[in-house]
């Protein structure tokens, strides 16, 4: 496949200046994106749908800039409530609270937000540049990723259980497998036979993700926060009593010092993003797992470790540019927002595919230039706000609990407009509450709910194409390489831990 994606300096500067001229469109789109990303139930996809008449009415380039800026900002916005109140705005930010929320409780919310913003921006900028330069090769990644390879990628995500439930792996596994069973609810992928739907038609399409996310994180959190006056620890309250800009600069510095970590995790996000059907949640979990596997201080993950926050934030923003690669080169959207962009741009007469770069280079390259500029706008818009956003953590839990419940429950109503989904969110909330009180990790349940249907879909496809031969799972060279990488990434932390303990023992004696 020959794709004329060579970008010259003249084209780049021309497009950059053209994109910058849409600053008046970009700033409101960035603010809107940050807000909708931060509210569970809202997303860039459904906001663009709501604003379709506006984007249809706009000039194609303005519409493109608006959608791309909103999309990128929503990804960053989703991390804000995940850090401050343990409620991810979208499933893509579900791994963010693992280390972000403990930081906020310790009074380091401002630092955590700065880390999140810089990691997101750096991840977004870097992967945008890589996507721009390496589009033809990246597009081919999706050709090589068949069902078998996808199964292994999913298992990378599931193996994160060993990380987040390191203190009690058995409980972690029970939570994850319970999540997988819940994820299998709904009709089967081949004959549409209903399974475990309790007679509810609303469950025939499977468990909707937003009520699960809202329930497991937000509702259960509300029931827990009322057990104290503040979400902050004593030390956290002391730190929050004297806020200063230094925390923001420290956060930025931490991120800059770990530039290699940001680079590596954002590339993981980009690679997963180009695979249609994969998404930010998988990328964030895989990046977190990989980050811990190769860390020198894996025991700090989950306690408010900056690297545990950098990994998911860099990865889920890397996905943003990744999902646009198959859209542009193959006309194949890599996610829901990319699919809506496809509809809008086709309405404007844009035909995606290899010929796009010859016919409409301002669109082909313009998407990534717009994303690049959006991230630059975003960092300057949001970094100064980190100090003030953190004040959320000092709000009394008497106010926080009912606000969390009312606004997130109704957020779970938004995607499908079923009142049933609010009841489902409450059911997940009770499950999450019991899980948290008895030290089962809710993120492990959520990983199962997210990956369950995907894993089943790819597994069935692989098995059916191989006429029931299970050995198909080891039939491809790339698949086998991924199996090996999976085994290494699971075994490595144990090997490093063993080596460290051995060194300590010999050092001690």
């Amino acid at each position: 496949m020959e794709i004329g994606t060579d970008i010259t300096w003249d084209i780049f500067t021309g497009l950059l200046l053209n994109t910058l001229s849409f600053w008046w469109m970009m700033i409101p789109a960035v603010i809107l994106g940050l807000v909708v990303g931060a509210i569970p139930g809202f997303s860039a996809a459904n906001t663009i749908i709501i604003l379709l008449p506006l984007t249809f009415a706009m000039d194609v380039e303005a519409g493109l800039v608006f959608m791309v800026a909103l999309y990128s900002a929503s990804r960053m916005g989703a991390g804000i409530p995940a850090i401050l109140v343990n409620i991810p705005g979208t499933a893509g930010a579900a791994a963010t609270p693992l280390d972000g929320y403990p930081m906020a409780r310790q009074g380091r919310g401002q630092q955590a937000l700065a880390i999140s913003f810089v990691a997101s921006t750096a991840g977004g900028l870097l992967t945008t540049i890589i996507a721009l330069l390496a589009m033809p090769w990246l597009a081919r990644v999706s050709f090589f990723m068949h069902s078998v390879e996808m199964i292994v990628v999913m298992l990378f995500g599931i193996s994160l259980i060993a990380t987040i439930a390191a203190r009690n792996t058995l409980k972690g596994l029970i939570a994850c497998f319970f999540g997988l069973m819940i994820g299998f609810v709904g009709t089967d992928h081949v004959y549409a036979a209903p399974r475990a739907t309790f007679g509810f038609l609303e469950l025939y399409d499977g468990i909707p993700l937003v009520p699960a996310l809202v329930g497991l994180f937000a509702v259960s959190e509300a029931f827990l926060v009322i057990e104290g006056e503040s979400i902050l620890t004593k030390r956290g309250r002391e730190l929050m009593a004297a806020p200063s800009w230094a925390a923001t600069f420290e956060g930025m510095q931490i991120c800059v010092k770990r530039w290699w970590h940001v680079t590596w995790c954002s590339i993981v996000g980009l690679a997963i993003g180009v695979i249609p059907g994969a998404g930010a949640s998988i990328a964030a979990f895989v990046a977190y797992q990989q980050s811990r596997s190769f860390s020198k201080t894996p025991e700090l993950y989950g306690t408010g470790h900056p690297e545990g926050l950098i990994a998911p934030e860099a990865a889920n923003n890397g996905v943003t540019s990744g999902t646009l690669v198959p859209l542009i080169i193959l006309g194949l959207p890599g996610g829901a927002t990319a699919a809506i962009m496809l509809v809008v741009l086709e309405f404007h007469g844009v035909n995606f595919g290899p010929s796009l770069f010859a016919e409409r280079p301002e669109i082909g390259f313009g998407i990534f230039i717009a994303m690049f500029v959006s991230y630059v706008f975003m960092i300057f818009t949001i970094i100064p706000l980190s100090r003030y956003m953190t004040r959320v953590t000092v709000i009394s839990t008497s106010f926080m609990a009912p606000v969390i419940i009312s606004f997130t429950l109704v957020g779970s109503f938004v995607p499908r407009e079923f009142a049933f989904d609010m009841g489902l969110a409450l059911a997940f909330g009770i499950l999450g509450y019991v899980a948290r009180k008895t030290n089962y990790h809710v993120a492990a349940i959520l990983i199962g709910v997210i990956l369950g249907p995907l894993l089943e879909q790819f597994f069935l496809r692989a098995i059916r194409m191989a006429n029931g031969d299970i050995m198909v799972l080891f039939s491809s060279r790339l698949g086998n390489a991924l199996w090996l990488a999976l085994a290494v990434s699971i075994a490595l932390p144990y090997a490093l831990d063993y080596k460290r303990r051995k060194a300590e023992t010999s050092g001690g004696s």
Binding site: A193, S230, S398, A419, T438, L460
Partner: protein
């Protein structure tokens, strides 16, 4: 909040610091097994494509729960835990507040279909804040004004600005007719 790092909270000491409440810790595994058995019941007559993943994962889940049961029995036998539910209920002084919030939440979900987003949110916030603030000796007026400000802000942000299709009731219908 509830993760294993939550010991520093101001709440009463949790059960985690004392003997383990294995009864409470078995709630999730028991629920998982009941759900898995129900799942199996619903797929008995289904084609193999509907069964294969669930049977595979469900069998592993049941095996994991059995392993956890053995661990629980050994923990209790060693005297490191009991069959109680203390971990689930503590701090006991908040049981009433939790039940009140749960009751209000169920009410919110039921009533929102008739009263719509704004009125239901106002009632929900007022009823909870009144209870919480009265407990601190503060006035009902504060609860009323906070609940009104938050629900109207929600209406303006979500329904007016974002044009989100939230549940409609008399308030939203009346304002839509007016403007």
């Amino acid at each position: 909040m509830s993760d294993e790092n939550s010991a520093e909270l101001d709440a009463e000491p949790s059960a985690a610091s004392g003997p383990r409440s294995m009864g409470a810790e078995l709630v999730i595994p028991a629920g998982a097994v009941v759900f898995t058995l129900y799942y199996f019941l619903t797929i008995i007559d289904s084609p193999w494509t509907a069964q294969v993943s669930a049977v595979f994962v469900g069998a592993i889940l049941i095996a994991l729960v059995l392993a956890f049961m053995i661990t629980a029995i050994r923990t209790v036998a060693r005297g490191d835990g009991d069959w109680g539910f203390a971990a689930l209920l503590q701090p006991l002084s908040y049981v009433k507040t939790r039940l009140y919030l749960l009751g209000l939440t169920v009410g919110y979900i039921v009533v929102i279909n008739w009263l719509g987003f704004t009125i239901t949110t106002f009632l929900f916030l007022f009823l909870f804040l009144a209870m919480a603030l009265l407990g601190q000796g503060k006035r009902v007026k504060l609860s009323l004004s906070l609940a009104a400000a938050l629900s109207i802000s929600g209406y303006l942000l979500f329904i007016v600005a974002f044009e989100t299709r939230f549940p409609f009731g008399p308030f939203e219908t009346a304002l839509e007719a007016l403007f």
